[in-house]
């Protein structure tokens, strides 16, 4: 069978060689590799597109090894892989332009708010739980944006451990 995947590599020497090594180790065949060093993702990493051929078991081992080596697999067989992020805001969420808060998170590339649950408390501060889906490797970008918004709007943030 064949699989297509997109890996993210650090932009430093030797990364591509390191990424290709598990393929031969586990007896899979490399069909295509597209590596354009001058194109970088938002996080400064270089995406590499690979097509591999081999037995299902061997391919699984290769993918597992990629993850062990710390390469993010951002796309597997055309499906963009997502991370789920849950966070709670506490403060004057509505008065501090809720629309703007949501827009700024949604505007991040590969990041989308999928659920939003708010408890209003009259004139008092309110509490909201937000579920976000982000492409693999985008978690820190989301946390940074949340921290920035929270500081500006004086919101307390309760992030996941």
């Amino acid at each position: 069978m064949r699989i297509n995947l997109v890996l993210e590599l650090l932009d430093s020497p030797g990364q591509l060689v390191k990424a290709l090594e598990p393929i031969s180790v586990y007896g899979a065949n490399l069909v295509t590799v597209i590596h354009k060093r001058d194109y970088k993702n938002e996080n400064g990493k270089v995406p590499v597109q690979l097509t591999l051929e081999g037995e299902h078991e061997d391919l699984k081992k290769v993918v597992d090894r990629f993850e062990e080596l710390g390469f993010s697999i951002i796309e597997l067989d055309g499906v963009v892989r997502k991370e789920k992020i849950t966070t709670i805001f506490f403060g004057h969420i509505v008065d501090q332009d809720l629309r703007d808060t949501m827009d700024r998170i949604n505007k991040l590339d590969g990041v989308v708010i999928v659920a939003f649950d708010i408890k209003l408390n009259g004139e008092e501060k309110s509490t909201a739980l937000i579920n976000i889906e982000a492409d693999i490797g985008k978690k820190q970008t989301v946390f940074d944006k949340i921290a920035e918004i929270a500081e500006e709007k004086e919101l307390l943030v309760i992030n996941e451990v």
Binding site: T86, I88, F90, A128, V161
Partner: protein, 339 residues
């Protein structure tokens, strides 16, 4: 038979716990190490009891409880206090259990440094001097060539400092995340199980003696931040002090936040994070059923390492005998290595 003469400085809950634990475990310590431990002095904030021939641990506790002052100890009561006690008697090890002071670390700082100058070992439960001047204090102990142990300063009976240093000696420590304050964990646990508001549970906790009359140190995360600094310095080699920790307490957490979290299968816990790029104490979401899901006054910590991946420890974070257990363990390890 070798003998180790100790002074117990500070005779509140922890100091009394040490006296009680010593009276229970003296024989065991003698069997294990071949060293007889003798309490030659004990001091509270205004007075002391001093005898070169040794004091009775149970009588010390009884005197303090009934008369309120150690100077009332039969025959050997004294008005000496503080550093003067260290000059009044010959001793080998200072067991320092004075209250934590996060402003100037006194009296723990000067007592500890004086003991080092006198060439004595020190076991402490204090967080103030470690959180404010870790490098200075540990450096002074090294210079003096004495032992300085502080397991009891973090997590009460929960083993973490010696555990990580000795048992995980093969590993590099990447980060530590955990619940390092029992009072706040108790409050948050009860808010979660009962749906009550913060103020209500805080008041009840104060009535039960779990929270102090002035709960600021616990609920505003100050206590956990001190422990964060101690772990950062001692286990991750980060040269940090109290002001380097980002601190947010639990006083803003309401029942609505807890309810929303619950709906998504999360709990809210006050988590201390110790890693090279983040020293932080803040309320965080933890998955129900994860290793962070411990309730009541329990403390826990997950140590992330390079070889052993994640290792977690859980234990009672406070309490008189519980904290004393950590101090006695430190004392025993000194006896084993030096006698």
């Amino acid at each position: 038979m070798d003998e180790c003469k100790v002074i117990i400085m500070g005779f509140g809950s922890v100091g009394q716990g040490v006296a009680n634990a010593l009276s229970m475990k003296k024989d065991l310590i003698k069997d294990k190490t071949g060293v007889a431990v003798k309490v030659v002095a004990a001091a509270d904030s205004s007075s002391s009891a001093i005898s070169q021939d040794g004091l009775d641990e149970e009588l010390l506790v009884k005197t303090k409880k009934e008369k309120g002052k150690l100077s009332a100890y039969p025959e050997f009561g004294s008005d000496k206090n503080g550093a003067d006690v260290l000059d009044a008697v010959e001793y080998d090890c200072l067991i320092e259990a004075t209250p934590t002071n996060i402003v100037d670390a006194q009296p723990a700082l000067s007592l500890t440094l004086k003991a080092f100058e006198q060439g004595k070992d020190v076991v402490t439960s204090n967080k103030g001097h470690l959180a404010l001047k870790f490098k200075e204090v540990v450096g002074a102990a090294e210079e003096a060539g004495v032992e300085f142990k502080y397991e009891a300063s973090v997590g009460g009976s929960m083993p973490i400092i010696n555990f990580t240093k000795d048992t995980l000696a093969s590993c590099e420590i990447k980060s530590i995340k955990g619940i390092l304050n029992g009072t706040t964990n108790y409050i948050l646990s009860r808010m979660t199980s009962e749906g009550s508001e913060y103020e209500v549970i805080l008041k009840e906790s104060q009535e039960l003696g779990i929270a102090e009359t002035d709960p600021t140190q616990d609920v505003e995360g100050i206590d956990a931040a001190c422990k964060t600094v101690i772990l950062a310095n001692s286990l991750l080699g980060i040269d940090a002090t109290y002001s380097d920790v980002k601190v947010e307490g639990i006083s803003k957490i309401n029942s609505q936040a807890i309810e929303l979290a619950k709906r998504d299968d999360y709990l809210i816990k006050l988590i201390a994070e110790v890693s090279p790029d983040n020293l932080q104490v803040s309320p965080r979401l933890v998955k129900r059923g994860s290793s962070y899901d411990v309730s009541g006054t329990l403390n826990m910590a997950t140590i992330k390492t390079d070889l052993a991946d994640e290792v977690s420890v859980i234990g009672l974070g406070a309490g008189s005998l519980e904290t004393a257990s950590a101090m006695l363990t430190d004392l025993i390890s000194i006896l084993k290595s030096k006698y």
